[in-house]
């Protein structure tokens, strides 16, 4: 479980670096709209991954502290 979690951190950071590199390439190629779309899609994908982990955290906190 821990290994999966830590993988998620590296995955998100990797996506961030990858997207910024692609963004620079697209800007150089004068494709501003595509660069903007790429940023948006990256943020949404990462947000989906983050939400899963946050959901896990919140449900464990809820069960521990009996917040129903």
């Amino acid at each position: 479980m821990n290994a999966v979690n830590i993988d998620l951190l590296f995955k998100i950071a990797g996506i961030g670096i990858f997207i910024s590199v692609l963004n620079i390439v697209l800007r150089q190629a004068q494709k501003e709209e595509q660069a903007q779309m790429l940023t948006l899609v990256g943020v949404v994908i990462v947000l989906l991954m983050v939400l899963q982990l946050i959901n896990e955290l919140f449900s464990s906190i809820k069960t521990i502290f009996k917040l129903f």
Partner: protein, 129 residues
């Protein structure tokens, strides 16, 4: 040695956030959010044990479990609110963070009302009429 894991994870996350902040501040914020969640999930098992022991002690001491449950709920709400508010503050939204904290305070106050009422009642019972 869980502490080594936690410290290592924190350092790596801080480094990644520093790298990402220059190009993609929104993804840097998500990395710090994830790091906070992972660190909490690493120590969650320990908290379960601690809560279990506290509950057992309270049962042995004959304390009404409603009080303990209120206490635990307050701790949980305070932790969650602190988590959310700190993330908002890191993202530069201090005003949203203070609203989150205010809401948490209100919820905790409402949750503590039965206990406060009980204290008031016992004080009133002591006062001779």
């Amino acid at each position: 040695m869980e502490i080594v894991q936690v410290v290592g994870l924190g350092l790596i996350a801080a480094l990644l956030v520093l790298i990402l902040k220059e190009y993609r501040p929104e993804l840097a914020m998500q990395v710090s959010l994830i790091a906070g969640a992972i660190i909490m999930l690493l120590v969650v098992d320990r908290i379960v044990g601690a809560v279990h022991v506290i509950t057992e002690t309270a049962v042995a001491a004959g304390i009404n479990l409603v009080y303990l449950q209120t206490l635990l709920r307050v701790i949980g709400i305070a932790y969650l609110a602190e988590f959310g508010a700190q993330i908002c503050r890191d993202a530069g939204e201090g005003s949203i963070a203070s609203r989150v904290e205010l809401a948490a305070k209100v919820i905790i106050l409402v949750m503590a009302v039965p206990v406060i009422v009980e204290i008031m009642e016992s004080v009133l019972r002591m006062i001779p009429r």
